[in-house]
């Protein structure tokens, strides 16, 4: 398999490497995983975090399946049993519940980040469209999840969903019959099937299409998210609600936060189809076609005022309607209907008024941002000195953290013994966060110890990813051979420079392996005709190849190129990113070695 045993690897490491090399023949070859060696803004890999939370949900959900019974009169009781009597059932359930919220939240943030950074332009329409579908399905997945508890609130949610489905012209009633069956007994069973199988399978399938080939897996951030989920579960444990009893009228309940926006519309008692199906449908449709109506040549939100204003407007509308959906007139003397009704004229007036406000606000923001940019250009970028932690302190801190972990372990264990389940969940959450910090410390220390190999400078914005991907980079250069790298004046913001020098980037390495370039395993090159990365090219409409050639003569790049979001290149190119970061920070001539 091309793995020659190096004397310094023990047999376990060799086994791992052998397995790793085996992936050469599998579909995973196309994927490139990178583990950043320095802190990177999580905005760029929110999608990965969403995926990680999805996996957490899959695992905890599978365990919940061992006890949950999707039967009309037992569903709620089985959840109660999980929550109250099954050992660690409380933990599982709370992680599952809070992770579902986190997943929806992360997916939304991820979408908006993609939106404002304009990443969908770089031939990423496919990722965007599948992303919108993923977002919708994610909400459906969460929705079916909280319905199968079959509490009062769940029952209300199901009936709302079913009557909305029913309200769809022509197909509605048949669709309702098909998806919901007839009656609550069918609903619970079917929603369960959707929740644990149909939707996750479709989600996974879409993810295969959605994932770019270059993915960032940032261990500290992943652990921090996991820790935050547990911590929230410890502080705000989810209740069971009241068991649904068809003969007891349910009290006022409000759906989960990601649906209250919709709920506000429903409460305006306007036509069900318009408010509950057509409006959200229109919103989703607008999102879907966004990359096709965004004709700006540039990427940054500052250069796309109308699109950015649209984005801000949508956020404002979401916030207002979400809040409105939650709000229920506390005056108990009024009738229920009065308390719940939202005057449609009022609601729609506010929504319409929000539009010019949001546009104005966005305009202002863009003005300010541009000014700030201009000012920043005038001043010399100040060299930031990151905190330098001497090795000795690093070790002390490490030991202290491990000690703290021991303490947390014991405390969490005793908390369970004492029946303080939420406290133990809280502590385990902290444990995760401590691990996140430790890992960060570890990679920091590792960076210090081999600074001249991997870490380029002390500027904290610079980072290199030791990629676990198998092959050397292919670069743009292969395709635009007329370009002479030497002619390119290294400029800030010059992506071309990075493209041409990619081959200088050290061959990836992992874990215990210390050799950098020389490992036979990693230098095993894929065939020279390999073009896997060759399409990591610039967006067609903004930077054509001919343009590249022209521009390469002069370092004076066209604005389009300048505004190109290097660090957001779809195809991941995280290592490029690292490189670009380097050049961008004004460290002009240091090639990455």
């Amino acid at each position: 398999m091309g793995v020659s045993s190096l004397s310094r690897d023990n047999s376990l490491v060799r086994l791992f490497k052998w397995i790793y090399a085996g992936f050469d023949r599998t579909i995973f070859m196309g994927l490139k995983f990178t583990i950043p060696t320095k802190f990177v803004s999580p905005l760029g890999f929110l999608g990965m975090l969403t995926f990680v939370v999805f996996i957490i949900l899959g695992i905890t959900g599978a365990f919940l399946m061992l006890w949950y019974e999707p039967i009309l009169d037992r569903a709620w009781d089985s959840v109660e049993k999980i929550n109250d009597t099954i050992p660690y059932g409380f933990h599982m359930r709370n992680i599952h519940y809070h992770a579902s919220n986190a997943m929806v939240m992360l997916a939304i943030l991820h979408m908006y980040y993609q939106f404002f950074s304009g990443r969908y332009k770089i031939r990423n329409e496919m990722l965007w469209v599948t992303g919108v579908l993923l977002g919708v399905l994610t909400i459906l997945e969460a929705f079916t999840g909280y319905d199968i508890i079959f509490s009062e609130r769940a029952e209300l949610a199901i009936s709302i969903a079913a009557s909305l489905t029913n309200s769809i012209p022509i197909l509605g009633p048949d669709m309702m019959n098909a998806f919901f069956g007839s009656g609550f007994h069918d609903f619970v069973l079917r929603f369960y099937a959707f929740h644990v199988f149909f939707l996750p399978i479709v989600l996974l399938g879409l993810m295969v299409v959605h994932f770019p080939r270059f993915l960032v897996f940032d261990v500290p951030m992943v652990m921090a998210v996991a820790g935050a989920i547990m911590l929230t579960g410890g502080v705000f444990p989810i209740d069971l609600g009241l068991k649904f009893d068809p003969n007891v009228p349910p009290g006022i309940t409000v759906p989960e936060w990601y649906l209250t926006g919709l709920y506000a519309f429903l409460r305006s008692a306007f036509d069900k189809f318009t408010t509950g199906v057509a409006w959200p449908g229109l919103f989703i449709f607008t999102l879907l076609i966004m990359p096709f109506i965004d004709k700006y040549k540039k990427f940054s939100w500052k250069d796309r005022p109308i699109i950015s204003a649209l984005g801000i407007t949508s956020i404002a509308q979401i916030i207002v309607t979400t809040y409105w959906g939650f709000y229920i007139d506390p005056d108990r003397t009024k009738s229920l209907l009065e308390r719940l009704m939202i005057d449609p004229i009022f609601l729609y007036t506010v929504m319409v008024l929000l539009v010019p406000l949001s546009f104005g606000f966005t305009y202002l923001m863009i003005k300010i941002a541009k000014n700030a940019e201009a000012n920043a250009k005038k001043q010399k970028p100040s060299e930031k000195n990151p905190i330098q932690l001497p090795a000795k302190w690093l070790y002390i801190l490490f030991v202290a953290l491990i000690g703290f972990q021991v303490y947390l372990n014991i405390a969490a264990y005793y908390a369970v013994l004492d029946g303080m389940k939420n406290y133990s969940l809280f502590l385990i959450g902290i444990l995760m966060l401590v691990f996140a910090g430790m890992f960060h410390l570890y990679r920091y220390g590792r960076g210090l110890s081999k600074s001249n190999v991997e870490i380029v400078t002390t500027n904290k914005r610079k980072f290199i990813f030791p990629s676990i991907g198998g092959s050397k980079r292919k670069s743009l250069e292969d395709r635009s051979t007329s370009m002479d790298p030497s002619k390119i004046g290294p400029t800030e913001d010059n992506p071309l420079l990075s493209s041409t020098e990619k081959k200088d980037i050290p061959v990836p390495e992992i874990g215990t392996h210390k050799g950098g370039k020389s490992s036979p395993m990693y230098s095993k090159d894929t065939s020279p005709t390999d073009t896997r990365n060759a399409d990591i090219d610039l967006p067609e409409n903004s930077v054509s190849k001919t343009k590249i050639n022209k521009q390469s003569q002069t370092s004076n790049l066209d604005q389009n190129v300048r505004s190109f979001p290097y660090d957001k290149l779809n195809d991941g190119q995280k290592r490029d990113d690292a490189f670009v970061e380097t050049t961008r920070d004004g460290d002009k001539s240091t090639p990455v070695r």
């Binding site: 069918d186 009228p249 008692a269």
Partner: protein, 204 residues
């Protein structure tokens, strides 16, 4: 996006290739046609009994015109199942009402009674009949839809704003035998018949 050539229709002749494509398409359609019908796997149609069935009150007895109080209502399960779980199904709960005197509730025949699905047509809460003076109507606890006990039509609240058939409750036809026992006639679960639970009924 590759630009597609418009199909060549030179003089109405189709090329051999296009003809082949047509055949292949037709074959594919034919192959998968039967599966459209398989969609019937999904819905769970309500069983329709061919025979009349008893109105079974919560205490287990059959409702009788001689004993059931005027201006009074009970929740009745229909169709009653052997399976206690299914009997808890909201979609099987019906409000069995004896009308107040002013609406003819004192007569000793089937016209004094009504039986409506308890599933509110708005968002499926379970409404019920309130016999108090000044109310004497069905009221939904969720968003306040109100139902006319005489016809089952919503006259206030969100359900009343819905287009027919979603503003009238499904209802069951009743008959009374010689001993005064009340029976439910075999229903026709369609909007123009007895209605669809959770969806509605056209007023005849």
């Amino acid at each position: 996006m590759s630009q597609r050539q418009p199909p060549k229709v030179d003089g109405g002749k189709i090329s051999r290739r296009d003809f082949l494509k047509l055949l292949a398409a037709a074959g594919t359609v034919m192959t998968f046609t039967p599966f459209v019908e398989w969609g019937k796997f999904l819905p769970n149609p309500r069983e329709s009994n061919e025979e009349r069935s008893k109105v079974v009150l919560p205490d287990g007895s059959q409702a009788n015109v001689n004993t059931f109080k005027v201006n009074h209502a009970e929740a009745v399960v229909y169709p009653l199942s052997e399976d206690p779980v299914l009997n808890e199904e909201a979609f099987r709960t019906w409000q069995f009402i004896r009308l107040p005197p002013e609406l003819g509730g004192e007569k000793n025949d089937a016209t004094a009674f009504r039986m409506y699905s308890m599933v509110c047509l708005h968002l499926w809460c379970l409404w019920k009949y309130w016999p108090e003076d000044g109310r004497k109507r069905g009221e939904c606890p969720c968003h306040g839809s109100m139902y006319d006990p005489l016809t089952g039509e919503a006259f206030a609240g969100p359900a009343s704003l819905q287009a027919p058939p979603s503003n009238v409750l499904p209802s069951l036809d009743l008959e009374v035998d010689d001993e005064g026992n009340i029976w439910i006639k075999p229903p026709n679960w369609s909007p123009s018949g007895n209605g669809v639970v959770g969806y509605g009924r056209f007023l005849a």
